[in-house]
Structures are given as C-alpha cells and as structure tokens.
C-alpha cells in the first residue's frame, strides 16, 4: 500500500496546478492525503480550500489543523485511510464472489469474519508513506513540531507486523527552487528522523504541484514519467 501525505500551510504559487498533480497520482493508484497546517483551523481561506481540493482529487482525506494537533491528525489519518483502502479492496472482492451489494448488510457472524480478515490485512500488509513537507519561509518555525510528529507516526508504523516505511521530501528545493528535495529515503529507523530539517533552508515560493509530481515518480520508482496507462486499475498499486 502506498500513499503520499502532503503537509502545507498555504497556497501553491508557482509551477503545476497541485490539484491536477494529485489527480495524476490518483490515476496512478497512489492516494494523496493532505494536512493543512493553519493558524486559523476554521478559516475559509484560499489555502484551506486548496488543501481540500488536492485531497479530493488525490482520492484521500484532508484536515486543516493547528500545528499542535499535527501529530494526532497524522496518526488518525493514516489509520483511517489504510482501513478505508482495505475495506474497499475487501468489499470489491466480496461483490465479485458473492454479489453482495454492501458489507454493511451482512449478518453479524459473517461481518465478524470479514472484519477479522480486514484486521489481519491492516496489520500485516506492507505500507509505504511518502511525506511531502512544505518548508517555505512561513513554515520555518513549525518544522521542529513536524519532525516530532513524523517520529511519532513512524513509531506507530514500526509496530505493525507488515513492513512499514516512510520517506520524506521537502519543497521548495532544487537548484531553481521549483521542485522537491529528498531528505530521507525509505526507512523505518527512528534515529533517521532526528535532525530531519536541520539543514533545510527555507525559501519563499511554494511549488506544490511540481513537488507532488516529483514525489509521485519516486513512489512509483520511476525516473522518467511515462504516459498514463489507462488499463491500470485504481488499486493495483496497493500491495494487499
């Protein structure tokens, strides 16, 4: 199972449209979840709207939260999206085998058995989460908390039976400052998360779309972006 989790505090202002980039990820079978780290959690700001649109296009969840609630939001989101994905896969299988319209309508005993299978998958399936962290100037003061939240998330993932790894990108980065830079390759090592953002230099622009595409390529482990394969099923990338 592979996901991208974007953490940002505002609007993209250069490069590709991030909503289109998220739609691309979705059609490649990678869910994009987004957490907006906003000072005003209930604001109807442009940034909050964009956060919701990126997640909707990326087939994932979105939340706008204050940075102090980042850690619990990341954990909750990961747990729910993983559960949701597994539920969809199992539901599809059930429909194929039994032609059952909805899992909800199963009798209690059957439900218990189905949930047991889902729990097992949730605990044992492989999971890779690519984190993409906005490190533009306005985020600078929050990066320490972001690092702690990542460490806490990794502690949860490590506990699973299935192999669980994260990688961390930040943006803006690159020679022209228009893309993302890799901070941490796939790992489940807690020590690797220490001092994650120590050498990151915060810059002004927010090229969210470009950064998303770059991470997508990395998650799909391809260097050059091939044409979209229409044949590929929605969930084929999920290693369930």
């Amino acid at each position: 199972m592979k996901q991208i989790l974007l953490l940002t505090d505002g609007c993209s202002n250069c490069g590709m449209n991030p909503v289109a980039a998220a739609a691309q990820a979705y059609s490649d079978g990678i869910t994009v979840n987004v957490i907006g780290i906003l000072d005003d959690e209930h604001g109807e700001s442009e940034g909050a709207r964009e956060v919701a649109e990126i997640a909707a296009a990326g087939g994932g969840m979105s939340r706008n939260v204050h940075v102090r609630r980042l850690s619990q939001t990341m954990q909750m989101m990961t747990q729910q999206t993983v559960a949701h994905t597994i539920q969809q896969v199992v539901n599809r299988q059930l429909q194929q085998v039994f032609g059952q319209p909805q899992m909800e309508q199963l009798a209690p005993q059957k439900k218990a058995a189905v949930v047991q299978v889902m729990d097992e998958l949730q605990e044992t399936s492989g999971l890779r989460i690519a984190l993409l962290v906005d490190s533009s100037l306005s985020m600078k003061a929050k990066l320490k908390t972001v690092q702690e939240a990542i460490a806490d998330l990794l502690l949860n993932l490590r506990a699973r039976r299935g192999k669980s790894e994260i990688c961390v990108f930040h943006f803006p980065a690159g020679s022209d400052g228009q893309g993302a830079g890799l901070l941490l390759d796939w790992t489940s090592d807690l020590a690797a998360v220490q001092r994650l953002f120590a050498d990151v230099q915060s810059r002004g622009v927010t090229p969210t779309g470009n950064a998303l595409l770059q991470v997508l390529d990395y998650v799909l482990a391809r260097r050059v972006q091939p044409a979209v394969n229409e044949e590929r099923g929605l969930w084929s990338e999920y290693v369930v």
């Binding site: 949930v115 889902m118 490590r158």
Partner: protein, 301 residues
C-alpha cells in the same frame, strides 16, 4: 466524519437490536470516546448495563471479535449482546457490557488515602495477568479506565484497546504510553501494560510533578527523565524498586510484576511521613541536642 450515532442520545431513547431484538432504554451518557459513546442503559427487565455505540461498525466489530475470544476467571462473558440499529437511516453498531458503578482510581486514592494503592494495584495487576495469560495486553490503561467500587473492589473497564501480543496498538493514551515517553515500541505486550500501570501509580501520588514532565517538549521526554522523577520524589520511595523495573521493562515472566508489587506489602509502612513533618522533627531534634550541649557546658565548669 459526522454521523447520527456520534451525537449524544437523549434520556429514554429506545434502542432495539436489529438481529437479536433486545430492547434498551438510555439512562444517561457515561463517556465519549474516539471510537464511540458509552451509555448507561436499562434492559427490558430493568437491570442496568453499559452500552457502547459507534458509527464505525468495523472498528466496533473488531473490538467485539477480540472481546469474544477472552475468558474471565469468574466465567462471565464481556460482551453480553452485540447488535445493530438504524438511526435516521444510518447503521449504528453497538455492544452491551456489565455496568461498573464506581469512581476512578485517582479520585479514590486521593479521597481514601495512599494506603489503598497497594491492595488496589494488586487487583489491577491480577486482572492484567488474566489477560496476559491469554496472550493479550490491555494497552489503553489509564486512571479513567480503572474504577473502584464499594469495599475497594477494583474493575478495569473499556476493554476496547485489548490487543494480541506482538500486534500494533489499536488505541492508547499519551500520558501512560511508552511511545510518548520515548521508552519503547507501541507493540502490545505485558511490558507495555506494566509501564502504563507504573505511570498510573506515579500519577496517583505525584500528579503535579508528572504533569510538568509530560508538558515538556518531545525531545526532553525520556525514560531517563521518568526514572529521575522516581528517584527524586520522596513520596515514591516505597514504590521505587517496582517502578524502576516496570518503567525499564525489566520484569520477565507474567507473574514477576505481581510478585514484585506484593513484596511491598511486607514493609511496615508503605508511604513515608510527609516531608514537612520529618523536617520539623529534624529541627526540634537539633534544638534539643543544642540545648543538651549548652546544659552540659553550663554545669561542668
């Protein structure tokens, strides 16, 4: 996700199970959790039960699956009924369990005295051991989930976090979570429960010091700072050997934590005299010595 089942149901609302047909009348809400709300209800014959409702039927079913495999030494089942009902066209799942009428451990110890901690702790460790012997850990152990009934009978409630050994935790509470204190993994084990148990004990005796420590930033929380607290607080002196073992995860067999805890019973007094009293004693003693010397000096020449 907003849902009808997450709203608090009113008093006298009737819930009728879709599959088993049992009828429950809501008396009042007992608690609101992340995975659902718990109510005090009356059954058709008027007896009182606790009933947990959730819109996330998979999460609730997953809890039920675990709970139905557990055996309790008194022969009771934990899940008395599990069913569904429809609320405004939406499916709500629920299960029914025994209602425990008591007050939480911290409040009890504060009101009745610290002497209670040892006998209550023994009961708690016994109930944990019962789970451990079946290959499960309680996991979400916190003061609110430990109720003390009349005559000092202790009962763990909310078994929703119970997880098979070796699996990742389903739910936990920061203050008692080993991961929060950067003292170990979030994997279900007897060690994990004993760590949480030790944290509850510390919280019962020196709540303020513990809260101060918990409020520190992530990087400054560690097993070392916790152990330091245990060494510094004189009120914890009698519990020290146990706390050191539990926090470090040093207990080996499933019986060892209980044995270590019970060994404290043999000490004449578990809790030391209050600090102010002992310092007062020291000062008067010093004064009397001084007076004694003065008297001797006065008499001898």
């Amino acid at each position: 996700m907003s849902s009808w089942c997450q709203l608090l149901l009113r008093e006298k609302t009737i819930i009728r199970g879709k599959w088993h047909g049992n009828r429950y009348e809501i008396v009042r809400a007992l608690g609101k959790g992340a995975n659902g709300n718990v109510y005090l209800v009356k059954t058709a014959d008027g007896s009182k039960r606790a009933l947990k409702i959730s819109a996330e039927w998979q999460v609730l079913q997953s809890e039920i699956n675990v709970l139905q495999t557990l055996h309790f030494s008194n022969g009771h089942r934990y899940v008395l009924d599990a069913d569904e009902f429809e609320l405004a066209g939406e499916l709500c799942a629920f299960y029914v369990m025994k209602w425990v009428d008591g007050c939480d451990l911290r409040t009890y110890v504060q009101h009745h005295g610290r002497d209670w901690l040892v006998p209550l702790g023994t009961q708690m460790l016994r109930q944990l051991r019962e789970l451990h012997l079946q290959g499960y850990a309680f996991c979400d152990l916190k003061a609110e989930n430990v109720l003390v009934e009349r005559h000092g009978r202790l009962q763990l409630i909310d078994y929703g976090g119970v997880t098979a050994f070796g699996r990742s935790l389903r739910q936990y509470t920061e203050q008692t979570d080993r991961g929060f204190w950067r003292a170990g993994e979030r994997i279900a084990s007897a060690d994990y429960d004993w760590f949480a148990f030790a944290m509850i004990c510390i919280d019962c005796i020196v709540p303020k010091s513990l809260q101060q420590l918990a409020a520190k930033p992530h990087g400054e929380r560690s097993l070392a700072t916790l152990l330091q607290l245990v060494e510094q607080e004189t009120a914890l002196v009698a519990l020290r050997p146990f706390l050191r073992g539990a926090l470090r995860g040093r207990f080996g067999s499933l019986d060892s934590a209980l044995v270590a805890w019970q060994s404290m019973r043999r000490q004449t007094t578990v809790m030391p005299l209050p600090k102010s009293f002992s310092s007062w004693l020291k000062i008067t003693f010093a004064c009397s010595i001084l007076l004694f010397i003065c008297t001797i000096l006065y008499v001898i020449p």
